[in-house]
């Protein structure tokens, strides 16, 4: 079993601004952890701290029992055996595919290098492109070369900085499945930085949410999606309707809800149910793909609901509304 990569109380400051603040996060071996947050949340900086590209100001980074970073003490990136994959792939433009993959294999014997290269070319379907230069490759091919290059030296962990956001949407799914399959096989800690909640929920084994340099919550996707610890976490994982409890018509929330509580409801948690006692009027109806987005006027509020097309009422019609309890999150007043 490989070791976990762990940050313990890590902080990093650029001048007066705290970019990463007291973050503790463990990346277990064999799992893919998605680091989710808006741009400027400190995701890439945290990744660079793990990689040793920047020193920590406080706290520690450990691989198993081995200390990699502590204040005033940083094991150089080349001594860490931590693979990196970048959004722009960062392939070496003057080296062909084969030599890009070979770059990290330098200490090995020639036969072993050749064997590893052949293995990875085959594993990622790149055999025909071995002699091509990066600028001769498609985006998906470049991405696969970057994965092969990072995994070929058998790193102790792998860090991916928005690895799929540079790809064409039509390509993203298949490349992602292939790439993450290879990462999972390696059985090492893997961190994937992303700003796309759907991607995090879809492919990660664990999700960590970062905001303004602080870690808000980490856990399994289901847990985070269904039991967000704060309104910020709930909002980070997708769109929400957000209200004060007292502004909602009676009957939508449990009776015990405090009137000044913060209420967040996911659009798919707004159920259009003809039998429900609370009534509203559909003001708009927009097809968004498999689901239809309806905006419903109810008292002075506007609610957004996502419903299957067959169940979506026409604009202008009256409908009953209720909230699905597992997609409705109630927080004490003042929670952020």
């Amino acid at each position: 079993m490989n070791d976990a990569l762990t940050a313990i109380g890590v902080s990093r400051r650029y001048g007066p601004s705290m970019v990463v603040e007291d973050v503790s996060l463990s990346l277990p071996a064999g799992t893919i952890t998605a680091l989710l947050g808006e741009s400027g949340a400190g995701k890439s900086t945290l990744l660079r701290l793990f990689a040793g590209l920047e020193p920590v100001d406080t706290g520690e980074i450990r691989l198993g029992a081995r200390r990699l970073s502590a204040p005033g003490e940083t094991v150089a990136p080349e001594k860490r055996r931590i693979g990196l994959i970048f959004q722009d792939f960062a392939l070496f433009p003057h080296l062909d595919v084969r030599r890009n993959i070979a770059f990290g294999l330098k200490p090995l014997a020639k036969a072993e290098i050749d064997a590893r290269i052949s293995h990875w070319l085959k594993r990622l379907g790149l055999e025909a492109r071995a002699g091509a230069y990066p600028h001769e490759l498609s985006g998906g091919e470049q991405q696969r070369v970057a994965i092969a290059r990072a995994l070929a030296p058998q790193p102790a962990a792998i860090l991916m900085d928005e690895p799929f956001s540079g790809l064409d949407p039509s390509l993203r799914g298949s490349v992602r499945a292939q790439a993450l399959g290879a990462v999972r096989e390696a059985g090492i800690p893997a961190l994937m930085v992303t700003h796309d909640p759907a991607e995090a929920l879809e492919v990660a084994d664990r999700i960590a949410i970062l905001k303004d340099g602080r870690l808000l919550q980490s856990g399994a996707p289901d847990e985070i999606y269904l039991q967000p610890a704060s309104p910020s976490v709930a909002a980070a994982l997708g769109p929400v309707n957000r209200f004060r409890a007292r502004d909602l018509p009676a009957g939508l929330l449990p009776e015990t809800t405090a009137p000044d509580a913060e209420v967040l409801v996911r659009p798919e948690g707004v159920v259009l149910d003809g039998q429900a006692s609370v009534r509203g009027r559909v003001t708009s109806r927009t097809l968004t793909g498999p689901l239809v987005q309806c905006v419903i006027a109810c008292d002075r509020l506007h609610l957004t609901a996502l419903v299957p097309r067959a169940e979506a009422p026409a604009a202008g019609t009256q409908t009953g509304i209720r909230f699905s309890p597992d997609l409705t999150f109630i927080f004490a007043s003042g929670a952020t």
């Binding site: 150089a76 990136p77 080349e78 001594k79 931590i82 392939l91 990290g104 230069y133 990072a150 030296p153």
Partner: protein, 524 residues
Amino acid sequence: MTGLPALIAGLLVGLPVLAVVLAGLLGGGGEAWTHIRSVLLARYTGNTLAVIGLTSALVLAMAVPAAWLVTMFRFPGRALFEWLLILPLSVPGYVLAYAWSDLAGVAGPIQSTLRSVTGWSARDYWFPEIASLPGLALVLACALYPYVFLTARAAFVTQSVCTLDAARSLGASRARAFWTIALPAARPAIMAGLALALMEAAADYGAAELLGVQTLTAGIVRAWKSFGEPAVAARLAIMLVLVVSGLIMAERWARGRAGSQQSSTRWRKVSRIDLTGLKGLGASAFCLGLFVIAFALPVGRLVWRSLQVQPNIAPIGGAVLNSIMLAGAGACFGFLLALLIALSVGTASPASRFARFVATAGYAMPGAVLALGALALASFLNLPLTGLVALGLLAWVYASRFTAAGAEPMIAALGRAPVSLGQAATSLGASPLRRAREIDLPLALSGAATGALILFVEALKELPATLMLRPMNWDTLAVRTYAYASDERFAAAAQPALLITLAGLAPVILLSWRLARSRPGDAP
């Protein structure tokens, strides 16, 4: 716009080179050629190649580490060195050669100080001789390294820093990442800068002549002036054209198939690494040493010398006036040709490609070669080499040599404008002529100020063609400097040399100011 104006511009630029080649191939050789071929040709060519080889080694050793240091690290004086190190570009090679022979000669301040400190006499010690082939290479490297400094720095600044991070995550030390990733990725840019520098080195006449090194260019001028054999000079010129073409081919070949353009769309800002203690001092010392040798010391010496003597107003004033008139005429002619070429680039016609190619080739041609071509044409047309004819020919040679330097900034300015601008104009009913006048011309002119300034200053600095073509007693600043310096009248040479350097500073400062404004990936 049809291809005709570009075709005419291309022919005007290319005619002198064509004339030289024809004159060399068709002209009779005679005894002088037999003599030169059997005795001097190998020496000229060997010296030229040796100067080129040694100069490139020195240029690379000076420019690449300096560019890497100011781009990637933080050390005392870094921001200052970033532009100080460009300044030697303003000093012509022959001025630097003259200043250094003054500085390092037996009677110069360096050896005098050495003697007064040690109490030795001049025969008691060995001192490196500046008037030698290595001395010439050092002087040329000092004058020309900024070409490589600029291109290498641009390549290092725009490289995706992510590739360096990736290299380190794959186990490469900082040094290995530099040698295996940053340097090869920057190689095409470095080679392009080096090719420019070496073309200048091959074209140099003044420094080689002042330091007594018999290069091909010096041989051309001598064959024409001393032997009175233009055909022999033209044959030597063909040899030089071959050497220069070899340089251009080497540069093309060095680009190879490997990509150098970054595939990335995202730049992480360069976060410079702090060099503290001895390392920081070492970096500062390297940059300071380079600046002192290539600029501060020689230019300081010029200032010192020119303060020692009463300003020699009459001859210098005349030379200033002549220089301005001549360089102005050459710049105007070159500017017109450059504008025609720049405006034709959008048409992508064969004529436009031809004109642009010829202009680039003309830029690589030594002034002595072009002057010979103009002389050959004049003798073919039976034109007397006096007064306005000579000045006209000289302006033409300047234009032929420097049109590319004027055209490229305009082409770049046009290239930055989206293609859709022209298409929008056409869709609004503008004729090709109206489009050229109201859209393309104003856009090209935004790059024209730089182009015109470069043209003017280059023409002002030009020495060998001016020496060969100028009418009797028509002296420019460059000619005055050279004449005084070759008579070892160092004090008298200082003032015109300083004036040329001051004029040369203008485009260099403009250039570094532009660089400072358009800098991707810099740390805040």
